[in-house]
Symmetry: C2
Subunit: 135 residues, 2 copies
DNA sequence: TTGATAACCGACTAATTTAGTCTTATTTCA
DNA sequence: TGAAATAAGACTAAATTAGTCGGTTATCAA
């Protein structure tokens, strides 16, 4: 139904929160969970994904937490989404790992190429939206 | 995960098939199901949705079937998608019926307005793609 | 050096959404 | 009047997403 997952929403809101609040101090998953009434476990996972994708830097231990790794002008919406939704694509057959194989319609598919064009345009939308636009 | 539903894919492929094959004769759900190995019941439902949305005209009875109601240059991707997926929106809170009420984050939502902009851009992509582009 | 705190990770369960099936009704043609 | 087609709604199954749980590792400070 072409809907963003909750993870993507969490990622966006967390990134925005960090961008606004960050004055050199780290921000914990707990703080974000409390602030937005998010499930602590879920937002933790989201932040871990952002960390793996170098969007935030993480610090373990007592005074640990997260901090944005770059300026909001350098963080693109597509990075946030891809971090938590590695294989977002409007159709199965456009997914990265798909070399032939798993198209639903095999030889009968008549829409792959046009949908690839659509996909590129959607990617472009997410590329041209930056975190700084959202603050 | 921002994926099109199978219904949307069916709608697209069926519409394309009708656009190419249609020489004044109606096309049945059965023919399309056989041609693409679609579930007959599902493609039937999809065609019924297209019919309700005036994208195809339906004829009941023995020599019945479907026929595109307009030229492929006048059929937009967004019409096909909306016909089978009435409330496609990247987030819950942008759905039509949503006047306040059901936002996941209530007063704490910080992303509704920027996402509305993104939604408009995505709509635009689907508006500017016509069935004729896909043939 | 130990206890508290926070990130990290993977397996699991629950909830929601999507896909698919079944049944029955209605229309139309020959 | 029977066969073939659309129409519609209820139901079931499968897949995806959301959320939970348990345990590990790292870091700080008392």
């Amino acid at each position: 139904m072409l809907k963003l997952s909750k993870k993507s929403e969490y990622a966006l809101m967390a990134a925005k929160y960090m961008a606004i609040k960050n004055h050199g101090t780290v921000i914990t998953a707990k703080e974000i969970a409390n602030n937005f009434n998010f499930s602590y476990e879920l937002i933790s996972k989201v932040l871990q994904s952002l960390s793996k994708n170098q969007i935030v830097v993480s610090y373990k231990g007592v005074k640990g937490g997260y901090i944005l790794s770059k300026s909001p002008v350098d963080i693109f919406l597509i990075d946030l989404i891809r971090a938590v939704e590695p294989d977002y694509q409007i159709t199965e057959c456009l997914k990265f790992e798909n070399r032939k194989g798993s198209c639903n319609y095999k030889d009968n598919c008549t829409i792959k190429d046009p949908l690839a064009v659509v996909q590129q345009k959607i990617d472009k939308v997410f590329y041209e939206t930056k975190l700084s636009h959202i603050i």
